[in-house]
């Protein structure tokens, strides 16, 4: 009936007259006695038919199988005050959100609880642009219901957790890499055991990837496995592939960093032949009796150690293509490669002098000239060494000789109190690049109270001077590392700012983010310390 009416109205009553026979009896009888005009007759029929159909409507029945599996939670919901911190996140600057949200998530994960379902959709959307690490934490607190709805939210970029054995055996290379990395952090012994189970089936490229991950954070328990593959699979052979050589180099770099390894011992033994000690010359030697350390790197290859055959076969280092602008010989280049990964205390023990002294020796006695400036040949290697071993002693020895970017990179090597002393002494309290590299860790997540206060005061004093502009990045860095007990000083300088002309900028860029961050962190902290 409706279909017929639709056909009529599409073409128009002029072209297609209505057939009353298709109408229900009551409607047909009614309209037959009504208008003679065909348009009016059609309009009235359509009205009656429309309501006739509407009044007899019944719902469609679903023919398929309905998934009736209930999604249940096994973990409890976090207490309301801890849950409601989430509401505060929207008030803080977006630069800070990832960091603070991550602390909040850590607290919930530690309590082995989840968030209430009403917050799940918002949290998933809120965290969509966060770092992968924070996203992984989000997945741990949204419960089974959250994970379930995530499968419908295709616009969000979360990687659903898979079963570990599935990832290792069936995951793509990125998934396997991420899984191995995370296992290295949580159980490094198991990570090597897992790697061994599939090692023989892995391609050499994949092996190189896993070796690089091991090198990022190695453990002495890795040594037996590494020594085994170094001596067997990756020992030199004449038709070896480039990637195999690279694998050998990575293994060598790891093994050199452990004094107990055979490779480290034989290398130090080999190098000791080029070491000499003599009494310091002149008056100083006479008075102090101090020995002078010397390390002779031959300018030409020799048969004992410094020759490309030994270097390539034993270490896998490049034998050609080194930078001749920096290194005067291939031997010097190979030595820089060794210097990267041999810990400084090994040099100290073999030479009998302190780390600062041996650092000074390497910096002062090997130099090159470029663009009219004289620079130490081994500076980069020593910086690499400090970063690789997170050596605060080497960093401290290097810092007085560095400037700019190199200083910033070494901040992470210092202990927190040394960092604070260094920053204060060198007046870096308002240098956000330095402050951003504060050496905090899981146990020490913030600066000391005194240092926080000093940073706040320094920023305030800078802000009241002409031509200094406060920025959101400044507030972000203080907010990220501020000590929880620094609020009184923050309030003090807030009230001082109120009476001056920097109030708007101070309030927006410093006070608001720092205050919000401390407030949130305090609540998280209070829950973390509760039993």
């Amino acid at each position: 009936m409706w279909k017929h009416l639709l056909e009529v109205v599409l073409l128009g009553t002029e072209k297609k007259p209505m057939n009353q026979d298709v109408l229900p009896d009551q409607i047909r009888e009614f309209v037959s006695q009504r208008h003679a005009d065909s348009e009016l007759k059609f309009l009235e029929t359509a009205s009656l038919c429309y309501f006739y159909i509407e009044s007899g409507k019944i719902a469609d029945t679903f023919k398929g199988e309905i998934d009736e599996r209930l999604i249940e939670e096994t973990l409890g919901v976090v207490p309301k005050p801890l849950l409601e911190i989430f509401e505060e996140f929207e008030k803080i600057d977006y630069l800070l959100r990832d960091n603070i949200c991550s602390l909040w998530l850590d607290s919930i994960i530690k309590r082995n609880e989840i968030i209430s379902p009403e917050y799940v959709v918002r949290l998933l959307q809120f965290g969509n642009n966060f770092s992968q690490a924070t996203k992984n934490k989000i997945l741990q607190v949204i419960g089974n219901k959250g994970l379930w709805i995530l499968s419908f939210m295709n616009e969000l970029q979360y990687k659903m957790p898979s079963r570990p054995d599935n990832i290792w055996l069936e995951g793509d290379s990125n998934q396997r890499k991420a899984f191995f990395k995370s296992l290295r952090n949580t159980n490094h012994i198991e990570s090597i055991e897992l790697l061994k189970t599939t090692w023989t089936e892995e391609s050499v490229v994949t092996k190189r990837t896993f070796l690089e991950i091991i090198k990022e954070k190695s453990f002495s328990t890795d040594i037996p496995f590494l020594e085994e593959i170094y001596q067997d699979e990756f020992s030199y052979h004449s038709k070896e592939k480039k990637t195999e050589k690279e694998c050998r180099r990575i293994i060598v770099e790891i093994l050199l960093s452990y004094s107990e390894t055979q490779l480290h011992k034989s290398t130090m033994q080999g190098l000791s032949n080029y070491l000499s000690k003599s009494k310091k010359k002149g008056f100083v030697g006479l008075v102090t009796g101090k020995e002078q350390f010397e390390f002779d790197i031959p300018s030409e290859e020799d048969v004992e150690f410094w020759n490309s055959q030994n270097i390539e076969q034993k270490y896998g280092f490049e034998t050609k293509n080194y930078d001749i602008a920096i290194f005067s010989s291939a031997n010097q280049f190979w030595f820089s490669c060794l210097l990267n990964f041999i810990p400084m205390n090994a040099w100290s023990s073999v030479s009998g002098i302190t780390i600062p002294d041996i650092t000074a020796y390497f910096l002062d006695n090997f130099k090159y000239k470029i663009e009219g400036k004289i620079k130490p040949v081994f500076l980069e290697s020593l910086i690499e060494n400090a970063l690789y071993f997170s050596s605060d002693e080497l960093a401290k020895a290097l810092l007085p000789r560095l400037s700019g970017k190199d200083i910033i990179s070494l901040m992470k090597c210092l202990k927190l109190d040394e960092f604070e002393k260094y920053v204060t002494k060198n007046k870096y309290c308002i240098d956000i690049e330095i402050l951003q590299n504060s050496p905090v860790d899981e146990t020490n997540i913030s600066w000391s109270k005194a240092f926080t206060e000093e940073v706040i005061i320094n920023f305030y004093e800078a802000a009241i001077k002409p031509n200094f502009h406060l920025s959101a990045a400044m507030g972000k860095v203080i907010a990220q590392f501020a000590h929880l007990d620094a609020l009184p000083v923050l309030f003090k300088y807030q009230s001082l700012a109120q009476s001056g002309n920097i109030y708007q900028s101070w309030n927006k860029n410093i006070f608001e983010p720092v205050h919000a961050s401390i407030k949130i962190k305090s609540i998280i902290d209070s829950y973390n310390t509760r039993k």
Binding site: W2, T13, A46, E54, S55, A59, I66, P117
Partner: protein, 447 residues
């Protein structure tokens, strides 16, 4: 009453105001914030010399702020509500309000108890006024009759020529006809005509059927109006409303004959729709004891803000006055006594979608143009059939969601339910549903 963040968000005039309010909802931003049983109030420093004074009537949810903002509620009122929602215990409880709060509350209370008195006129003045009013009414009625005649002709033209031509017609042509209806003082009819411009002409399956439905309903309305004199008074009012006569809230509240119902009304949901320059806010309520459905409409424009007095999800203890109609539905709050989030008595639920259709048929029998039916239905489950989201009842009958239903609300339903079947409230609109909220026992969660 403690408000939920969701409720506060829903009464905010726009997301920016809510976000600004959120930024001001920390305790340290406020010079003071206090409460008693009647109200909450606070002072907050703004760009003015003196702090802004913000006050919120808790018994009948109303807001007042001394700031110059034209938004309602302003960001300060939103901030105070949020502060109260998150830190109620930090509000200092006092018995006596300050003078500025007391004056406002007393004035509101007096207004609620004694509606405005009608202006006193002499008999002669009244007669003159009535005569003028009558003349205006007669003139308007004549004008509408002309418009109705013209519209009938227009409909006849459409069915004679065939609707296949409609997609090719420019929107201006429909707008021209709609404008003529406005000129004929029949804005309701203009709205029906404009509906043709909103059809999705890219989808032949959809627009052709929809166009015939509009034609059918509009013709019935035109025909009924032509029989105006033969209709009952209730029908006359109903038809006049559909054609475009306005109903006065002020007259309704003072009308002693008007239908009123006292109940605890669950504010089941809210919807905003922008039509031209006007924003319409629809609030659907259901009486927990009487099961009466009510629709409260609020209007806003660039020059007047929507007075947002209904908090979705709240239970309002009030006497509601209903506009006269063959099917009284649109209402206003006449006297409000209390508002909270507690449902003591649950309204009646339907069990299946077929029961919902039977209910719709009963309503269509009374008023063929009735739409947007508020339904409370038991044991429904939301799922995706591979193409679309559908809501199944316990007999596996299903309904589609209305077009463009907020995806976040779908996810919210799923995560709250965990795939368990839920009792819900929804609007049945053009044989599709728009879910409003979920019942979990006596708790009502707004989607």
């Amino acid at each position: 009453m403690i408000f939920t963040e969701k409720q506060i968000e829903s009464i905010s005039p726009n997301p920016a105001a809510y976000s600004a309010g959120k930024g001001l909802s920390s305790k340290h931003k406020w010079v003071s914030f206090k409460k008693n049983d009647r109200a909450i109030w606070g002072e907050i420093k703004g760009s003015g010399k003196n702090p802004y004074q913000v006050q919120i009537d808790l018994s009948a949810v109303a807001y007042k702020c001394s700031c110059p903002s034209r938004q309602f509620p302003c960001k300060h009122s939103i901030a105070l509500l949020l502060l109260y929602a998150n830190s109620e215990n930090d509000f200092e409880k006092v018995t006596e309000e300050p003078e500025w709060v007391k004056n406002w509350l007393d004035k509101r209370q007096a207004k609620a108890e004694k509606p405005e008195k009608a202006v006193e006129r002499t008999e002669e003045e009244q007669q003159k006024l009535d005569k003028a009013k009558e003349k205006t009414q007669v003139d308007r009625f004549d004008s509408v009759c002309e418009g109705v005649k013209e519209l009938e002709l227009w409909l006849k033209d459409i069915v004679r020529m065939g609707i296949l031509e409609l997609p090719a017609k420019p929107a201006s042509e429909f707008e021209k006809t709609a404008k003529r209806m406005v000129d004929a003082k029949a804005p309701g009819l203009a709205g029906w005509v404009k509906a043709f411009t909103k059809l999705d002409y890219q989808d032949p399956d959809a627009w052709q059927g929809e166009a015939l439905k509009i034609i059918s309903k509009l013709f019935l309305l035109v025909s009924t109006f032509k029989n105006y004199d033969k209709l009952s008074p209730e029908w006359q009012i109903t038809i006049k409303n559909l054609v475009g006569w306005n109903q006065s809230t002020k007259d309704l509240i003072t009308d002693k004959e008007a239908m009123t119902i006292k109940d605890k009304w669950l504010a089941a949901g809210q919807e905003f729709e922008a039509i031209d320059d006007i924003t319409i806010q629809r609030n659907w309520l259901v009486g927990c004891n009487t099961n009466q459905k009510a629709l409260i409409l609020n209007f806003g424009s660039a020059f007047s803000v929507i007075e947002n007095s209904v908090l979705p999800g709240s239970v309002i203890e009030a006497e509601m006055a209903f506009f006269p109609s063959v099917l009284p539905n649109r209402a206003v709050i006449k006297i409000q006594r209390n508002v909270n989030n507690e449902i003591n008595e649950l309204p009646c639920f339907l069990n299946t979608w077929n029961e919902a259709y039977c209910y719709q048929t009963e309503l269509l029998k009374v008023n063929p143009w009735a739409n947007d039916h508020l339904l409370l239905i038991k044991d429904t489950r939301l799922f995706n059939d591979g193409k679309r989201w559908i809501v199944c009842d316990k007999e596996k009958s299903f309904m589609y969601l209305v077009e463009g239903f907020d995806y976040q609300k779908i996810m919210r339903w799923l995560v709250i339910s965990g795939n368990r079947s839920q009792d819900i409230s929804c609007i049945l609109r053009n044989n599709k549903i728009m879910p409003l909220g979920i019942f979990q026992g006596k708790e009502y969660i707004i989607l």
